[in-house]
């Protein structure tokens, strides 16, 4: 019993129950004092959920150091925690690599849950008519698939930024390790609250949660708003941490254009997260308050404006797409030189293109609203700004192809996922401009074409590079190398299936198939396409299952890999695997360019005391 209670997660859950009960009691008490009927589900659920999340963090022990500091006592140094073994992943670790693995596991769990949701409703959609889901169940699963995947992606990005940024820049840890722990642990109750919406009536609005629909949806809607608001804390604080870490903790000699290219992507993505995430939190909290307290922000009867919500929502949610893909594109640029044994072509242009995408991304949100009924003339400037995104994105593609040209190319699993990512992201890229010009978008908006387009961008820009990164850095995390055979099986299960699925989506979307429908008219003739999407969806899931099996087998009895597995110039591969507690035993200095493969005698980093 004491052993179980020593796990932070278990203590967190117990305190979460206490906090939730306390929150509900608080609402009941206040209502009684105000002379209202004691019980009302909405405020009880929201306040209970919020306090439960805070108490959870207290229970885990995330606040312990801060409380010690505030009370004037000494805060202990967090020393070697490896003696805790696997148990360290269940407590409030402040080590960036432990937190990175925590994020990674949480991300994989949420990704699997959201994936299962999609398999359920894809099975429903394989045939017209309602088979086994009611419309509200369909809408809840479809909405949760979207938002849980998004949270999983944000967490997955935090995973890789946390795990790699410190050692890529030669630092011991992140700039704010305790804040880092909080960023992770607040995401756990956020995910729980989000998923609890299934049990509280669900919601029928999609992940966009447009009012007035979301103002009248079932109670599950509030859990959606609360869960996303809490997760946005995680995203904002994590971005802050990354930016400060990169600004302050780089190794000697690591000038901006000698940073690994992934760092540029991490900067670009963190700028967006830090400055735009507030807007989605804000817009969701406004609807939350409209429901709780009758503040009619978006209620036309009270003079509110439903379109305002869409502006606030998309001001984050479009740049958010670049939050999702920029790290992935950074990983592509980071790995390509290693596997083609050639410098990254046009390093500075690739680095600047990440920033250009991030900055342009702030000016394009209106293209989601071409049909929304906003001021009509606004559609023209948004059309120009949106199309501009194609320019820096094109720079990346051209640079990748030029990097590969005349290399010495080998094809281990991470390289396959990188190449799959490039081709799939290209499909997402070239299917984009028709959504940017207004007249063509009037046909495409809210159809399956959009669904195909953004699944292409997210698979190409996130999922494929994400798996490439796992295969690439798995030896660094565990000292063992994932099976190449199973890795290739996963790749070939996922890639063709995914391409077929997204093309089928775009095909019926062009023909007018609406998205977010639980049922469709068989007379449309789309049933064969829907069946293809369902089958390919299951094949993708099978690929992910192969990955889990691979990870499980490798951890049990995988091939040991402690050296420089991929022949990389990057400093982390000059250190032992798994990575030691404080990364490098000696300070390192950057003495050359990061990607000078093929230049004899060149060196990227030099450790102190080394010739």
């Amino acid at each position: 019993m004491r052993k179980i209670l020593s796990l932070g997660l278990v203590r967190g859950w117990l305190w979460q129950i206490v906090g939730t009960a306390f929150g509900i009691g608080l609402v009941v008490g206040v209502r009684l004092l105000m002379g209202l009927p004691a019980w009302k589900a909405e405020p009880a659920a929201v306040v209970g959920g919020l306090l439960g999340a805070l108490f959870f963090n207290y229970g885990v022990g995330v606040f312990d150091d801060w409380f010690l500091g505030w009370s004037g006592r000494d805060v202990p140094e967090h020393g070697d925690e490896t003696r805790l073994g696997w148990r360290r992943f269940f407590g409030p670790s402040t080590n960036h690599k432990t937190i990175g693995v925590q994020y990674l596991v949480l991300s994989l769990i949420l990704m699997s849950v959201a994936g299962v949701f999609s398999l359920i409703f894809r099975t429903e959609l394989a045939n017209p008519g309602l088979q086994f889901l009611t419309p509200i169940e369909y809408n809840t699963l479809m909405s949760l698939h979207g938002i849980v995947m998004i949270i999983s992606i944000l967490i997955g990005i935090s995973a890789f930024m946390n795990y790699t940024v410190p050692f890529l820049i030669g630092a011991h840890d992140m700039a704010f390790p305790r804040l880092n722990a909080f960023s992770f642990w607040i995401a756990v109750p956020a995910g729980e609250i989000l998923l609890s919406s299934i049990f509280l009536g669900g919601f029928d609005t999609g992940w966009t949660g447009y009012p007035p629909l979301s103002a009248r949806a079932p109670l599950g809607m509030q859990m959606f708003f609360l869960g996303v608001s809490l997760a946005s804390f995680s995203s904002i604080l994590s971005a802050l941490n990354v930016l400060v870490t990169v600004a302050r903790l780089r190794a000697k000699g690591m000038t901006p254009f000698r940073m690994p290219i992934f760092i540029w992507a991490a900067i670009a993505t963190s700028i967006i997260s830090l400055t735009a995430t507030q807007l989605i939190g804000l817009s969701f909290q406004m609807v939350m308050l409209q429901r709780l307290l009758g503040m009619g922000f978006f209620d036309p009867v009270k003079g509110g404006n439903p379109i305002l919500f869409q502006h606030l929502f998309w001001f984050y949610s479009h740049p958010a797409v670049y939050v999702f893909v920029l790290p992935g594109l950074g990983i592509i640029s980071e790995f390509l030189p290693v596997f083609v044994r050639k410098p990254l072509y046009g390093y500075k242009w690739v680095a600047m293109s990440s920033l250009a995408i991030a900055l342009t991304g702030f000016l394009v949100w209106g293209h989601h609203m071409f049909t929304a009924g906003m001021a009509e003339y606004l559609r023209v400037p948004f059309m120009y700004s949106t199309l501009l995104v194609a320019v820096p994105t094109g720079v990346k593609f051209f640079s990748w192809v030029a990097t590969i040209w005349r290399g010495k190319i080998s094809f281990p699993t991470p390289m396959l996922f990188i190449l799959g990512g490039i081709v799939v992201f290209l499909l997402g890229g070239i299917s984009g401009p028709p959504n940017a010009t207004v007249s063509t978008d009037l046909q495409l908006n809210n159809t399956y074409y959009i669904v195909g387009h953004f699944h292409d961008t997210l698979f190409g820009g996130y999922i494929f590079p994400f798996f490439a990164a796992i295969y690439y850095w798995f030896p660094k995390m565990t000292g063992k190398r994932l099976s190449e055979k199973l890795g290739k099986l996963q790749f070939w299960l996922m890639t063709p299936s995914f391409v077929i699925m997204s093309l089928a989506m775009m095909r019926i979307g062009l023909l007018g198939m609406r998205r977010r429908v639980a049922d469709y008219d068989p007379a449309l003739g789309f049933q064969p396409y829907m069946m293809v999407m369902t089958i390919t969806g299951f094949l993708i899931a099978l690929g992910v299952l192969v990955f889990f099996i691979n990870a499980f087998i490798t951890l049990k009895r995988g091939e040991t890999a402690t050296g420089n597995v991929w022949g990389s110039r990057s400093p982390e591969w000059q250190a032992p695997s798994p990575m030691p507690l404080h990364n490098y035993d000696r300070p390192l200095e950057v003495v050359g360019e990061p990607y000078d493969y093929g230049l004899p005698g060149s060196q990227y980093v030099k450790f102190e005391g080394e010739e």
């Binding site: 419309p135 023209v380 940017a436």
Partner: protein, 334 residues
């Protein structure tokens, strides 16, 4: 140099083949509106562009992967090339010019979809969860199917009674969200006679999938005949017309004619009865009360019901004859 020549030839061949393939499968549904003409031209341009960019990147990539793969037992590194500024500038500036040109064409295409014909026929579109209603103020008729004469611009004046809905007919290539609290305009000139379907394009709750209505584009002669038929059906009998209006305007969603209690009070035995109001007084349900309750619904609230539930806009949406017909119908339920 040899590599570049081969790749260039392959890219051209692949572009032509992909474009031909895409066009042969028929990418878009049949076009049935004047507004969609320039949209489809723009789509045609995109098919070219898509085929070219896809070929340029993928063909070059695949070629490079094959030509420069590490052969069995081969060691060593690739060529040490770090970049070329002129090339980088070229592939930044050329795409920039292309997208600016695309945006320019896109703006023209948008303008084409928005040309206004001052003699357009007005149709009021009223939406709610989950229904479509269409009113023709010029003819004083209302339906749940949209009838349109071919070749004549129709000005859809759309409103929503609850959440955001969306008007979408794939063959018309146009889509417009319908926002509650205001009137949204969409102009369509149907160009081909046929039967289509309007589908709600903005997620509007559980039954979103089923929010569709028939759209029939007919010849002017057929349209005139249909109008006459509709008018005759309502006839000169105001009670029948009123009953039709009550269902078309969604009144019967909240008010019953058989005494059962719904969201609003029933109409059965209402006329000339004593109605208790929320302020404690009583009022006789005479003709003036009925008119007032329709056009000024928040003024006299029946005891046990709340204000602001019934739309307060019927005073504007209904004309005098329609209100008279509704009152006649209510009186007939005495």
């Amino acid at each position: 140099m040899k590599h570049f020549v081969i790749v260039a030839i392959l890219v051209v061949a692949s572009t032509i083949a992909i474009r031909a393939g895409l066009n042969s499968i028929g990418l878009l549904p049949e076009l049935a509106s004047v507004q969609g003409t320039s949209t489809d031209q723009l789509f045609g341009l995109y098919v070219w562009a898509t085929a070219f960019v896809f070929s340029l990147i993928v063909v070059t990539l695949v070629y490079a992967l094959i030509a420069f793969r590490r052969k069995q037992g081969e060691t060593g590194e690739g060529v040490h090339v770090t970049g070329n500024s002129s090339l980088e500038i070229a592939w930044t500036v050329v795409p920039l010019l292309i997208v600016v040109y695309l945006a320019f064409i896109g703006a023209q295409s948008l303008a084409d979809t928005r040309r206004i014909d001052p003699s357009a026929m007005v149709v009021k579109v009223i939406t709610g969860q989950w229904y479509w209603q269409f009113q023709y103020p010029d003819y004083g008729i209302g339906t749940t199917e949209l009838y349109l004469p071919v070749g004549k611009q129709v000005d859809l004046q759309m409103t929503s009674r609850d959440v955001i809905h969306g008007f979408f007919v794939p063959e018309f290539r146009l889509k417009q969200d319908i926002v509650p609290g205001r009137t949204v305009e969409l102009r369509i000139t149907p160009s081909v006679i046929g039967n289509y379907k309007v589908e709600c394009s903005q997620l509007c709750g559980s039954n979103h999938a089923y929010m569709t209505a028939a759209v029939d584009v007919v010849s002017q002669a057929d349209f005139d005949a249909w109008v006459a038929e509709q008018k005759a059906a309502a006839g000169e009998n105001p009670v029948l017309l009123g009953e039709q209006l009550a269902s078309q305007y969604g009144c019967t969603v909240c008010h019953s004619a058989d005494g059962s209690k719904k969201i609003g009070p029933t109409w059965l035995h209402l006329y000339q009865s004593q109605v208790p109001l929320s302020d404690g007084t009583k009022v006789t349900a005479d003709e003036q009360y009925l008119i007032n309750s329709i056009t000024n619904s928040n003024q006299q609230i029946v005891e046990g019901y709340t204000a602001n539930v019934m739309p307060a806009t019927f005073g504007q949406t209904l004309d005098k004859n329609q209100i008279a017909a509704l009152v006649a119908y209510l009186e007939s339920l005495k």
